[in-house]
Subunit: 675 residues, 2 copies
C-alpha cells in the first residue's frame, strides 16, 4: 500500500469517504454478480474507492493486463463519476498473474482466478492474463454505493467457467455492422465473461471482408460495406486484448449468393446473380462437383485462415436446399458416378474436402449441424441450431459440439427462456461423461435480418448476459427471479462498456415522435415487445434496404414494466383483500391511461401512423384493469360486454409487429374479477 498523498486539513476531512466502512447489515444483502462465480463468500467490510484508486502488478506487468487496467479505470470512472488519477494514486488492488499473455487467446486457456477484497486492499491472482481479465470484471461488479461513497464489497471469490466455449454470433451480412459496433459489443462480451465472437461474415446478402485474391467478392457482393483486412486484424487484436477469440464463418456451399455476383461460375445454377435483398433460404449454391470451385475455395480459405489466427474456422454448411444441384444434369451425373445417393452425400463430400483444406492450415472445421454425416471428419465441431438432440447425437458420435438452439436472440424471447436452456440438456444428460465433455459450450446467435448498427445492441443486451451466466456459472444456478434481479444492475453496468441498448432508446423515440415530446410515447413503448420467433418476416415482405425505424425496432426486446406488472397482478390476486397490493397495480394502470391520452399529439408523426390501434388498446386495457381492481375491491362481479371482450382479445394481438405485453396480465385481472 502506498502512502496517501499529503493534503490540506479540510481536504483530508473531505476525503473521509476513503475511510474504511465497517461491516454492516448490508453484508447479508444479495450480491449483483453476473455470471455468478463458481464460489463466493462475503467476508464483511468493503474497500473504499475514490479518485486516488490505483492498481499495481505483483511480478511481470503484462501489456494485455496493463491495457485492461486502463479500461477498468475508465469503467469505474463511468460507473461512479470519480475522476481517477493515473499517477500518484494509492494502490488498492494488486494483480498477480503467473503466465504472460499468448499472442491470442485459445480454447484451452485456464480462465480461473482468485479475487480477495478486504477493507484494506484487494488482490487478484490468476494463472493466465485471461483469468485475470475475468477477475477484473468481477471486481468492477463488486463496487456499490455505500452511505459514504463507493466501495468494493469484501469477498473471497474462487472462480472458473463451466464451459470453455462461450460465444456470441454476430451476423454482419444481412445488415452491415461497422467496426465500432463490433468493438463495443466485444467490450460488453468481456464484461460478462464471454470468450468467443463468432463472426458470420458472408451470406446471400453480403460478403463482408476484403479479399485480395478474389476482390470481386467484396467489390460486387457488399454494396461497398465490408471490413478491410486492416480492420479485421484490428478487431481480432481488440478481441484478443479482451480475452476473446474470433471464429470467422464463411458459410458454404449454400448461403453464397453474394459470392456469385462477382463469380457466377462458382454456382451450379445459371447467373447473373444479384445481392440478396430479402430474407429466407436462397437456391444458389456452390457447385460441389467442380474442381475449379475447390481450387477457389482453397485459395480463399488460405487467405482468410491467415487473417484469423484462431484454431477454429466455421464453414457454415446449413440450409442447402439442393434445388440447383438437382436441376443440374452435370451434378446429377457426378453424384451417380460417385455412388452418392443424396445431396447430403454430396455436401458431406464437399465438407471432407474443405476440412482437409483447413487441416493443412492447422485449422479445425466448425459447421452447423446439417454437416453431421457418416463421412464427416471426426475432428469437426458441430454447432447445433436445430435442436439439443443433434448436439447429443454429435457428442455420442465423437464430435465436439456447441449449442445454439435455444439461444437465438432474434426470436425475441425473454431472458428467462434462454436462461432455462442448458448446453447439457436432457438429451445429453444420459451421455457417458466422456461424450458429455465434448459439449464445449454454447453461442447466443444474433442473426441480422432485423437489426442495424442502431438497434443491434438492444437485441443482444441485456439478455445475452443471462445466457453468458448459463455458460459460465455452475449448472445449479437456475433461479430466474434472482437472475432478473441481477440482470437489472448488469444491464446498467453494460452502459459503461459503450453498448447502446439503453442510451440509444432516447434518440430512437425522438425519431419515432418526429422530434415531438416523447415522455408519453416512452410510456407506451415501454409496454411492448417485438413479435416473437420469425413472425415479423411472415407478416410482410421486406427488403434489406428499408429502414428499421418502426416502433417494433425501437421497442426493447423484453418489457421490464410488463414483467413487474405481471408480478404485481399475481400478488394482488393471491390476496385481493390487501389494499397495499392494489396500489402498484392501480398506479401502473393510471400511468398507462395517462400515456395513452398524452401521446395523442405526436401520433400524427409519419412513423407512428401504424401504431394508432396500439394506443387505443392501451387505453382500453387500462380502463378494464381499473374496473377489475374496483370490482375485486368491492367484491362485485365484473361483466364485460361482448364488444369489450373482443377489445380485450384484440389488445393481445400484434399491432405494427409489436405485442402489448401487459395484455395477458390485465386479462388475468379481468377474469378474476368476473368470477
Amino acid at each position: 500500500m502506498g502512502v496517501r498523498r499529503r493534503l490540506g486539513m479540510w481536504m483530508a476531512m473531505a476525503a473521509c469517504v476513503s475511510a474504511a466502512v465497517p461491516a454492516t447489515a448490508q453484508e447479508a444483502a444479495p450480491h449483483g454478480l453476473m455470471p455468478v462465480p463458481a464460489s463466493v463468500t462475503f467476508d464483511g467490510g468493503s474497500l473504499p474507492i475514490d479518485a486516488r484508486f490505483a492498481v499495481a502488478f505483483a511480478g511481470a506487468r503484462d501489456q494485455v493486463l496493463a491495457r485492461a487496467v486502463e479500461r477498468m479505470l475508465l469503467r469505474i470512472t463511468k460507473l461512479t463519476g470519480l475522476p481517477i488519477v493515473r499517477e500518484g494514486g494509492t494502490v488498492a488492488l494488486t494483480i498477480r498473474c503467473t503466465m504472460p499473455a499468448s499472442p491470442v487467446p485459445s480454447a484451452v486457456d485456464d480462465e480461473s482466478y482468485l479475487l480477495k477484497v478486504t477493507s484494506s486492499g484487494a488482490t487478484l491472482t490468476a494463472p493466465t492474463p485471461y483469468g485475470a481479465l475475468h477477475g477484473m470484471e468481477t471486481f468492477i461488479q463488486l463496487i456499490r454505493q455505500e452511505p459514504n461513497g463507493f466501495a468494493a464489497r469484501g469477498a473471497t471469490i474462487l472462480d472458473k467457467p463451466r464451459f470453455p466455449w462461450r460465444g456470441l454470433l454476430i451476423d454482419v451480412s444481412r445488415h452491415w455492422i461497422p467496426p465500432d459496433v463490433i468493438k463495443r459489443n466485444l467490450d460488453a462480451m468481456a464484461a460478462v465473461k464471454l470468450n468467443v465472437l463468432h463472426w458470420h461474415l458472408s451470406e446471400d446478402q453480403g460478403f463482408r471482408v476484403e479479399s485480395k485474391v478474389y476482390p470481386l467478392l467484396h467489390q460486387k457482393g457488399s454494396d461497398g460495406l465490408y471490413y478491410t483486412q486492416d480492420q479485421v486484424r484490428d478487431i481480432v487484436r481488440y478481441a484478443a486484448d479482451r480475452g476473446i477469440r474470433v471464429v470467422p464463418e464463411f458459410d458454404m456451399p449454400g448461403h453464397t449468393g453474394s459470392w456469385l455476383v462477382g463469380y457466377p461460375w462458382l454456382s451450379s445454377g445459371k447467373g447473373p446473380f444479384e445481392i440478396g435483398r430479402v430474407w429466407g433460404v436462397y437456391d444458389p449454391v456452390l457447385d460441389a462437383t467442380n474442381e475449379k470451385v475447390y481450387a477457389f475455395v482453397d485459395r480463399l480459405i488460405g487467405e482468410m485462415a491467415a487473417l484469423f489466427p484462431d484454431a477454429y474456422f466455421h464453414v457454415g454448411g446449413d440450409e442447402v436446399n439442393g434445388k440447383q444441384w438437382d436441376a443440374s444434369p452435370a451434378v446429377v451425373a457426378y453424384r451417380k458416378q460417385r455412388g452418392m445417393k443424396t445431396n447430403d452425400d454430396l455436401q458431406a463430400y464437399f465438407n471432407t474436402r474443405v476440412s482437409a483444406m483447413l487441416a493443412r492450415r492447422g485449422k479445425v472445421m466448425v459447421g452447423w449441424d446439417e454437416v453431421l454425416h457418416k463421412d464427416l471428419p471426426k475432428n469437426t465441431v458441430v454447432q447445433s441450431w436445430r435442436g439439443q438432440k443433434s448436439l447429443a447425437e454429435a457428442a455420442s458420435q465423437g464430435y465436439a459440439g456447441i449449442l445454439s438452439n435455444g439461444y437465438y436472440l432474434d426470436y425475441i424471447w425473454p431472458a428467462s427462456q434462454h436462461y432455462a436452456v442448458d448446453p447439457v440438456g436432457k438429451d445429453a444428460a444420459g451421455l457417458p461423461e466422456e461424450a458429455r465433455k465434448r459439449i464445449l459450450g454454447g453461442e447466443a446467435c444474433m442473426w441480422g435480418e432485423w437489426v442495424t448498427p442502431e438497434t443491434i445492441d438492444s437485441r443482444i443486451w441485456p439478455r445475452t448476459a443471462a445466457i453468458a451466466e448459463r455458460y459460465w456459472s455452475p449448472a445449479t444456478i437456475t433461479d430466474a427471479a434472482d437472475m432478473y434481479r441481477r440482470l437489472h444492475g448488469v444491464s446498467r453496468q453494460l452502459d459503461a462498456t459503450g453498448v447502446t441498448h439503453r442510451s440509444g432508446y432516447t434518440a430512437m423515440l425522438d425519431r419515432l415522435a418526429n422530434d415531438g415530446p416523447t415522455e408519453a410515447l416512452r410510456g407506451i413503448v415501454d409496454l411492448v415487445e417485438p413479435v416473437k420467433n420469425y413472425s415479423r418476416g411472415r407478416r410482410a415482405k421486406f427488403t434489406s434496404q428499408m429502414a428499421l425505424n418502426r416502433i417494433v425496432d425501437v421497442a426493447g426486446a423484453e418489457s421490464d414494466e410488463a414483467r413487474a406488472f405481471g408480478q404485481a397482478v399475481d400478488a394482488l390476486l393471491a390476496d385481493p383483500s390487501k389494499p397495499e397490493r392494489r396500489d402498484p397495480v392501480v398506479a401502473a394502470l393510471r400511468r398507462w391511461q395517462m400515456s395513452a391520452r398524452e401521446v395523442q399529439p405526436v401520433m400524427s408523426a409519419p412513423l407512428l401512423q401504424e401504431a394508432a390501434p396500439l394506443v387505443q388498446n392501451v387505453a382500453a386495457l387500462s380502463g378494464f384493469g381499473l374496473r377489475a381492481v374496483e370490482a375485486l375491491e368491492k367484491k362485485w362481479k365484473l361483466a364485460l360486454t361482448a364488444e369489450e371482450t373482443d377489445a380485450m382479445t384484440w389488445a393481445a394481438a400484434p399491432v405494427a409487429d409489436v405485442l402489448l405485453m401487459v395484455a395477458p396480465h390485465v386479462k388475468k385481472l379481468v377474469d378474476a374479477a368476473g368470477k
Copy 2:
C-alpha cells in the same frame, strides 16, 4: 443522375418511398435550420432520401470532402435509420468545390456555399472545401420526415458566416477531458458551423500536454492525465478535417501552478508547489524578471508552436494577482530599476517578450483582456471575458478582438440569455466601420471546474448551438422563441454526432437512483437546473478529485419543461376563462405530484439524500398550483397560510445546488389567484 438499379416488381412497389413528393402545404412550414443561413428560399418539393442515396463530386475529389461525405452518410443513417449503401447507389447530391483543402483551415478561408435542393437532385457549390463542409451540414438539416419517408426539403441557400472566428473554449485542465470527448465535441461543433477549438491546456490544476523539452511539466503536473503529442496531432488533424482550427492556450504568467510542481524555480514565490485541487485564483506566478524563465518559455513555445499549426497562439494573461511579485524583493527591485510603476507594467513587459517569441515562429499572440496595456504589441488579438467594453476599447485602439463575456457556459444561463449577446454590442456599435471589423467573432467558454467527461456535453449542448447561430447568422436573427423551436430539433440532431448531452442522461439517473427505477426521478430532475453563475463554488469547498455525480450534475443546463410550463401559465393567465388553457397547466402539475409521490422508494439512495427537501418542494408547489387553477376557474380568491407562503418562498431557493425552475411560474399562478 444514375439509373436506379433494377428491382423485382414488389420491390419497386415497396420503393415508392423514393418517388418525388409533390409540393404541399408543408412548404409554408417554418424551417429547422440552425444557424439560420444568410439567405434561404424554399422552392417547394423535396428530394427523397433512401438507402440508395449517393453523393458525387463534380471536378476534383478532395480527400477532406470524401471523408466528410462518409461522415454525412453515417449521420443520415443515424437520423433516418436507413442502411445507406456505399457502392451502386443513385447520385442525389453533387458537390462542386473550386479549391482543394489547405493542410489546415485558416482564419481567412472563404466559408461560403450555395446549396440547391430540388425534387430531382441537389447541388452544393463552394469555393473551398470548408464552405462545402458547412453546406453538407445544412443539407443534413434539410432532411425531414414526410408521409412517405425521409426527404430533403427543396430550397436555394446562399450562405456565409457573419464572423470569421466562431469558437468554443474547452478547459481540460481543471478536470481532465480525454481525446474521445474532444473529438465528439468537434463533430458537434462542425454540425453548427463553429470553426475554432480554443483548447485551454494548462492551469494551476493541470498541465495537459506531453512536453519533450520539459517533461516534468506533464509528468508532475497532470496526475498522469495528459495528451501525448501523437494524440494532439491526431486531434488537430481531426479538427482540420472538419474545418476547425485549433488554438492552444498555455496560460501565463499566472495560472501556472501545475508547471511549478516540476519546475519550482520558474516562480518568484517559494516552493514546493502542488497541483491545485481547489478552484479560484492562485498566487503562484512565473518570475517575469528572470531571464532563465524567458529561456524556458521560449523553448516551450517553440515546442508547442510546432505541435499546433494554427497561426494563432493563446498565452492567457488573466488573473495575475501580483501577490508573489510584490512579496519578492528581487521583483520589486527589478520593477524599480526599469521604471515600471505597477505589476501591469511588468506583465506588459512579459507579454511583449512572449509576443516576440511567437512572432519569430510566425504566430500571432492571443490574450485575455487583462493584456490590454499601452505597451501591448498591436498585432495581439484580445479576448474579452470581462465585458463588451474592453472589446470595444481594444478594437478602437487597433487590436483585433473576440468576445467571450456573455458566453460563459459554466454560468448555466438559458440559451436565450447568451443568444441576446452580440459580439458587436452597444459598446462597439458606435465604432467606425474599420474598428468594428476588428471584432473577429466570439467564443463560448466551457470552463472546467464543474464538468467531467461524463457531464461536459450536457453543459456545452444544446446551448452552444444558439451561440453558434449568433456568430454565423445575420445580426437581424434575434427571435428567441424561434431559436428555441429550432434548438429543440438541433439538440436531437446533435445526438447523431456522438455528443451525449441527451443520451448520457439515462445512465446518470440510474446512478443517482442507485439502479432503482428512474421514471419518477426523471420527472423531478427534468424540473431543475444547476444554480447560476458561480454560486455553486461559493456554497461549499470542493476538490477536483470529488465525483461530479450529484443531482446538480445530472440536471440539464436548461429545463425545457419549466420553460414550457411558464408559457402555459402565461397563456392561461392571459385569459383564465378558456378551459383549454387550463389543461396543460393542470396536466403538468398532476404529473409533478405523481413524480413526487412515486420517487419516494429511490430517495433512500445515498446520492439522493440531499434532495429530499427538493421533492417536498415539488409536492408542495403542485398542490398550490392545482389550488390556484381551481380558484381561477371558480373565481375564488386563493389565500395561502403564512406557512404555505413560506413554503412557496423556500421552493424557489436552491436545494442541493439546484433550482426548481417551475417555482416562479407556480408563484405567478398563486399570485394571480390571490387577487
